[in-house]
């Protein structure tokens, strides 16, 4: 569960309609009216991350404290626990593994969101809050979970929100592992640790 305290607000006097804010918003909460050269924030979709404010070249966006903070989060539905855990493990995550260090989102919550119909990283972010802190480190877990669920997500057209899935420990070619084994890269040993985590018992009662 994440409490959304902040809201992005556009200063129309300073906004030039450059569209950078709507290209970086992880929940697609900003739309730029290209004719009016003005960005607008949809308050209900804004999760309070400062991505837009931090990249606006004109300083036209400010983060303000919401008058009415609200909570977001996804619960595992009754009877869904087995499917959720299976999806996490298929993506090689422990269900209780943290997948977003800023918001404290765990793999099972992101997986539950997918099973409840969130089929893009942006929709998972909107429902769980994942990727609305630093907006940097938790993209790949979402893409891995979507892949494991058989969902083929496409990046937002024209956006910079994300571009694609990347390699995991299990994909590193053997030739690469052999070539760099003497230089301090412990590929197989790390896989062993990651797999032990995936299969560790749950702590949740």
């Amino acid at each position: 569960m994440r409490t959304i305290r902040m809201l992005a607000v556009v200063d129309p006097e300073l906004c030039t309609g450059c569209t950078i804010c709507d290209r970086v918003c992880p929940t697609l909460a900003i739309v730029t009216d290209r004719k009016a050269h003005l960005a607008a924030v949809e308050a209900d979709r804004c999760s309070g991350c400062p991505a837009c404010e931090q990249r606006c070249p004109e300083g036209a966006i400010h983060m303000v404290v919401r008058e009415k903070p609200f909570d977001i989060g996804v619960q595992v539905l009754p009877g869904d626990r087995e499917r959720v855990d299976a999806l996490c493990r298929a993506a090689r995550f422990h269900p209780e593994q943290l997948v977003c260090y800023c918001t404290g989102t765990r793999a099972d919550e992101a997986a539950a969101a997918i099973l409840q119909g969130a089929h893009t990283p942006e929709e998972i972010s909107l429902r769980t809050g994942i990727r609305t802190g630093c907006t940097v480190e938790c993209l790949q877990p979402m893409l891995r979970l979507l892949d494991a669920a058989g969902v083929r997500a496409e990046p937002p057209k024209g956006g910079w929100q994300w571009y694609g899935r990347t390699v995991t420990a299990w994909d590193i070619p053997e030739s690469v592992k052999r070539r760099y084994a003497e230089r301090g890269f412990y590929f197989d040993e790390d896989i062993e640790i990651l797999e032990r985590v995936v299969n560790a018992p749950s702590q949740e009662k």
Binding site: Q54, L98, C134, T135, E137, W160, A169, P173, F185, A200
Partner: protein, 476 residues
């Protein structure tokens, strides 16, 4: 006992409280003394800074190092991007690193006739941070109008084909004919890079997009992560642009010099050796501390405040040997944090706890902009000042940081509370003091007593193992 070393002053930034609100530094309190790093370890190298030569000495060192670099491929009509990272600006106030960047620009221009030289300064998780440094150090004026900019991992991407598949860089980092990698050898995040390819890391981090950085921190594992950086650097795309590297050469006691090379891996081997030997020595000594109160008092995020080259995040793992690659998970790294379950305990029994020597943390002054709740959740933490607590409450990366902390009004009150509750008089201050450590007298006595044996152990036992694990010849 020596008087305290003046701490790095508070800095005006959108990521920290206003400097006027930092009413007292911990080093100003009674009973605080200092140790010079070189008094603890006489074998540490002599440094340019702190020293009487000051920033001009760094400038001369940069020019001398660059004199040995072949720049013949850069033509007058070409474009050059000097790639920098935020971390350099946290070293000794940032001016030495800024001066090195200016020297790189000036030398390239003088040697090659190239005039279109830009600065692209990457960041961690505070996307405006290098913009602040660019203005503060006059880099915008030095590079010319619009040529010095900050770049962030959510900026437009450029795909880079590597031997492990497509990874993504920041397009503006690579929008030139040539790139110059301008960095430093301060070890900083040993918990992440484990002193493996430290020199290469920005290619997977501050010059990289979120796809790549997420791969580093979520997809590969704690000891394979930094291979991402090597994969990008070795790609034909980057190799086709790479001109040379220029690094501030660092030691826990200051700036040793400037190292420049067209062969980044040769430079990397040199800093692997110095990182293990010099910083490994200091970290091993900090691992000897049996109990203490930690005071954070530095203009950067909680994890990055530092004392004699050791950051708080690494002291939080000083109960383990961060340099030993046989240890898969340090007490703190993001993989470790990820592997704490819902009951607040590690999912695997062998994951070490955070350094039990840290009895309490007094957060006198540190910035937002890095997820730090793990620390306040697992280490008793006192935050000084309501304004600072409120700043953290508004930070999207730290929405639960203060939930686990106590908030007190003054530095004096917080330190007195910490001493009373923990019962220890040992205090270690992370305030970036140049050349040494500010600390309490009982802790100073302990470190002075333990340093000679640590030195012997590092030289005879640990360093040979650390170098062997990284493929570096043990004999220099």
């Amino acid at each position: 006992m020596r008087p305290p070393i003046p701490p790095i002053p508070p800095r005006k930034s959108q990521y920290g409280i206003d400097p006027s609100l930092v009413r007292r530094r911990v080093a100003e309190l009674p009973g605080i003394t200092s140790l010079l790093a070189k008094d603890l370890f006489p074998e540490l190298p002599d440094v340019l800074m702190p020293g009487p030569g000051g920033v001009p000495a760094v400038r001369r060192a940069a020019e001398a190092a660059l004199a040995g670099v072949d720049m013949a491929r850069i033509q007058p009509g070409h474009t050059v991007n000097v790639l920098a990272s935020h971390h350099g600006f946290t070293l000794l106030g940032g001016e030495p690193y800024a001066e090195m960047l200016k020297a790189i620009k000036d030398v390239i221009q003088a040697r090659t006739g190239c005039k279109n030289i830009r600065l692209r300064a990457g960041v961690g998780l505070r996307f405006r941070e290098t913009e602040e440094y660019i203005r503060r150090h006059g880099l915008d004026r030095h590079f010319g109008d619009g040529k010095a900019i900050g770049i962030a991992p959510i900026d437009q991407a450029i795909p880079i084909e590597t031997e492990i598949g497509t990874l993504y860089g920041i397009k503006k980092a690579y929008d030139a004919d040539w790139i110059v990698h301008a960095h430093n050898s301060d070890v900083r995040e040993v918990h992440f890079h484990r002193q493996v390819d430290r020199a290469v890391k920005p290619f997977g981090m501050s010059y990289a997009r979120i796809e790549t950085r997420s791969t580093y921190h979520q997809n590969l594992g704690p000891r394979a992560a930094n291979f991402i950086a090597r994969a990008i650097f070795d790609s034909p795309f980057v190799q086709g642009k790479f001109a040379f590297a220029c690094f501030l050469a660092m030691s826990p006691n200051g700036i040793v010099g400037v190292d420049a090379d067209r062969d980044l891996y040769a430079l990397n081997d040199r800093i692997t050796r110095s990182g293990c030997s010099l910083y490994g020595r200091m970290m091993t000594l900090f691992g000897e501390i049996d109990e203490c109160i930690v005071a954070l008092d530095f203009p950067c995020p909680v994890v990055y405040v530092f004392s004699a080259g050791v950051i708080y995040a690494n002291f939080a793992g000083a109960n383990t040997d961060l340099y030993d690659l046989e240890l898969p998970l340090p007490a703190y790294t993001w993989y470790t944090e990820a592997f704490y379950g819902k009951a607040g305990r590690p999912l695997l029994p062998e994951i070490p706890s955070l350094n039990p020597a840290i009895k309490m943390c007094v957060h006198n002054y540190a910035w937002t902009g890095y997820p730090s709740a793990f620390f306040s959740e697992h280490i008793p933490t006192v935050i000084v000042g309501r304004e600072q607590a409120e700043l953290f409450d508004r930070d999207a990366q730290n929405s639960t940081y203060t939930r686990h902390a106590r908030i007190l009004d003054t530095t004096e009150e917080a330190m007195a509370y910490a001493c009373r509750v923990t019962g220890t008089a040992k205090i270690l201050i992370f305030d970036g003091a140049f050349g040494g450590i500010n600390l309490s007298e009982p802790l100073a006595e302990l470190l002075v007593k333990r340093a000679p044996e640590v030195s012997r152990r590092v030289d005879e036992e640990l360093l040979p193992k650390w170098l062997r694990q990284r493929g570096i010849p043990v004999a220099a």
